[in-house]
């Protein structure tokens, strides 16, 4: 075959493939097009997929019931994904593409705070409602974005629970703490929250360091070991925490307690660290053991956990629950305003107004967004629980009356287990 024949043939083939893969179904009843920006590749792809599971479970549940019931009809939802590749710049591009080209009605937000902070100005610019089910940085709410909401409380609301429990509920009480935080929009604030709550509780912070992601953490842990704190608190996502705990074990450094946020509630953390995950503290705003009752299809945390386990083969953690709850919040607000797809600008603004007034009870707990203050548009209905891994399970250990099982303290040396 001659070389010049290749080009038209290749083009023809591509077009044919494109046609075969493209939409061939006739347009049925209108659906809500929901844009999802999250990390499906890159450093944060684990967390990105965690949020994806939460959002997918909401969409699948809605669609299995025939769709969202509005004015006698049912409208299905269609999730359109935009991969942010774990980078804020790509997140902004993905949001822009979903809004201008895919013409989505509203947006479910990214996993990480850095990417969320890049998406929020875009949804602001195009006036598209946006709820994040995962991002925890308090920075997001301080900027008072009109179109951005969050079902998960800010990290400085969640993370202190474990420190409070350690400061008040264990004997002999710890006196010193070292805090390591990873340098990103979420982890830095997690570390700051550990530091602030420790100081409030009268603990002495002997070391506070922000370190870059992706480093070899042995020198950092060596420096912490030299400071000899009672508590090591790690503000990071799951991967960095796992690597730091591995490094601590290699260096034979066993403080009386290790506190971590966020990651110890994910199944991968338990699986990756195995027995070394034992005794590690963390905090959460939702566990399957809580007694919430809601009007949504899941109703209770236990039921949600059961459905989730059946679909994905692992138990859910609070990020997945909060992501599903973000969908529920949109669904409730849409029903209230009775808007049908596609939403025009007036309806999108009405949706934001409805979200501001929203006060619903779900399997995830109450959802009520603040309309003023430092947590503007963040869910303020939930309280934080201290957790610990005991016997390969995550149990509620405080603070105070939220305790189900007593915390185990101090943590034994690595060699005495």
């Amino acid at each position: 075959m001659k070389r010049r024949q290749w080009v038209p043939m290749a083009v023809g083939l591509l077009v044919a493939v494109g046609l075969a893969l493209g939409p061939t179904e006739a347009q049925q009843a209108p659906v809500f097009k929901v844009g999802v920006v999250t990390s499906l590749s890159g450093e944060m792809n684990f967390g990105g997929n965690v949020t994806k599971r939460g959002y997918d479970l909401w969409a699948d549940t809605v669609n299995a019931a025939g769709g969202i019931a509005i004015g006698g009809n049912r409208y299905k939802v269609q999730l359109v994904y935009g991969d942010d590749q774990s980078s804020p710049a790509t997140a902004a591009l993905a949001a822009e593409r979903l809004i201008t080209q895919e013409k989505v009605d509203f947006i479910l937000g990214p996993y990480a705070s850095g990417t969320t902070l890049a998406v929020a100005p875009i949804t602001e610019k195009y006036k598209v409602p946006h709820i994040t089910g995962s991002a925890e940085s308090p920075l997001i709410w301080k900027q008072k974005f009109k179109y951005t909401f969050g079902t998960i409380p800010a990290v400085n609301q969640i993370a202190p629970a474990s420190i409070k429990t350690l400061a008040k509920d264990v004997k002999p009480a710890p006196k010193t703490v070292a805090v390591i935080g990873i340098d990103d929009a979420f982890s830095k604030f997690a570390a700051q929250a550990f530091k602030d709550s420790a100081e409030q509780a009268g603990l002495k912070v002997v070391k506070f360091e922000i370190v870059p992601e992706g480093a070899d953490y042995t020198p950092t842990i060596t420096a912490v070991k030299a400071a000899n704190p009672d508590i090591l608190a790690i503000g990071s996502h799951e991967k960095a925490a796992m690597e730091m705990i591995k490094a601590a074990k290699e260096l034979g450094f066993a403080p009386k307690a290790i506190v971590q946020h966020y990651g110890m509630t994910t199944p991968d953390f338990l699986k990756g660290l195995g027995k070394d995950a034992e005794f590690i503290f963390g905090s959460s705003v939702w566990t399957a053991a809580l007694k919430h009752k809601g009007n949504d299809p899941f109703g209770t945390p236990a039921k949600y956990a059961e459905v989730f386990q059946k679909k994905y083969g692992t138990p859910p953690d609070y990020t997945e629950a909060a992501s599903t709850a973000a969908g529920l919040a949109f669904e409730a607000a849409l029903k209230q305003i009775g808007a049908t797809p596609p939403l025009d600008q007036k309806e999108k603004d009405a949706l934001v107004a409805a979200l501001e007034k929203l006060n619903i009870k779900t399997f995830y707990g109450p959802i009520k967004f603040a309309t003023e203050g430092d947590f503007y548009h963040d869910n303020v209905g939930l309280s934080s629980i201290a957790l610990q891994i005991q016997g390969g399970k995550i149990v509620e250990v405080g603070p105070g009356a939220l305790k189900v099982i007593s915390p185990k303290y101090p943590m034994p040396a690595w060699t005495k287990r």
Binding site: N45, T222, A223, E250
Partner: protein, 289 residues
């Protein structure tokens, strides 16, 4: 004092994890004139292969290191002719072509890993995991084993380069491809052999790195960057310079992290990298090409 000694040891051991990767990378450049952008992906694939090995057999991947070497050796041997094709012949800018092609390989490897192994962070356990020996300072067993392995593998490899006939052919090819070819060296076979050894060594290093850290599709980039740093410091293509250069990089990381703060590690590394390029483009020993 204890902190200082521990910091030095940490640094040496960090360097140790890089030695093998950088040695292979350096030789690959010397012989094939290819800057292999996929070096980190060989590490990643090595780690995932070890994960699978442990998942399916329950065995200790450390015990099966020779098996991984053989596997990656074969993989490299089969892949090399493809790289050869892209970088040889009448194509313009062969170095750039090699860079682009291996960048593509890296992207494909990353995407495939995400597809086949999923997004979860994986871990492997070896009998040395989490162990340590106290001698006043703490010697982490697995890292120490990795260090010994790295230095041993690199020295063996260099012995092969300098004391055998094939080794001499490899060095001749690295010096001058055309002349080596004219004198009867089968340049293609030598190139394939070098790439195979390089892939084998890097895959093995991946097993150790997988046991030390966590395994995920994006883990390779860090090693591509670090291998690049080490090789520039050692002098491009100058294999004997790799061991001191890797140890220097490790010590730099460790000392900066402990005495200045971890946030300055990147600055220190890039600073040295930059200075080397400006002041001593042939590397610390002036022997690079």
């Amino acid at each position: 004092m204890e902190l200082f000694l521990q910091t030095l040891l940490d640094g040496v051991l960090i360097g140790g994890t890089l030695v093998v990767i950088a040695a292979g990378f350096s030789l690959c450049f010397g012989v094939m004139d290819v800057i292999d952008f996929a070096v980190g992906e060989w590490v990643m694939l090595g780690a995932y292969t070890a994960f699978w090995f442990q998942e399916f057999t329950g065995g200790d991947p450390m015990a099966a290191l020779p098996l991984f070497f053989a596997l990656f050796f074969a993989g490299g041997y089969l892949l090399q002719p493809l790289i050869q094709r892209v970088t040889a012949g009448k194509r313009p800018h062969p170095v750039l072509m090699g860079l682009l092609f291996t960048f593509g390989l890296a992207t494909v490897a990353k995407g495939s890993a995400l597809y086949f192994w999923g997004f979860n962070f994986r871990s492997i356990r070896t009998w040395l995991s989490g162990q340590n020996v106290q001698i006043g300072i703490t010697v982490p067993s697995l890292r120490f084993a990795g260090f010994l392995f790295g230095v041993f593998a690199t020295l063996t490899f260099m012995a092969f380069l300098y004391w055998t006939r094939t080794g001499r052919a490899i060095r001749a090819t690295a010096q001058d491809r055309v002349t080596a070819g004219l004198l009867g060296v089968d340049v293609r076979r030598i190139s394939a052999l070098v790439y195979a050894v390089y892939a084998g060594l890097t895959g093995m290093a991946g097993v150790l790195i997988g046991a030390l850290f966590s395994i995920h599709a994006g883990m390779g980039l860090r090693y591509t960057t670090l291998a690049f740093f080490v090789v520039v410091l050692a002098g491009m293509g100058f294999v004997p310079g790799v061991i001191p250069a890797a140890l220097f990089m490790g010590l730099l990381q460790s000392l900066t992290a402990v005495y200045l703060g971890s946030r300055y590690v990147g600055l220190a590394l890039f600073g040295v990298f930059y200075l080397t390029l400006v002041v001593a483009p042939k590397g610390l020993f002036g022997r690079g090409s």
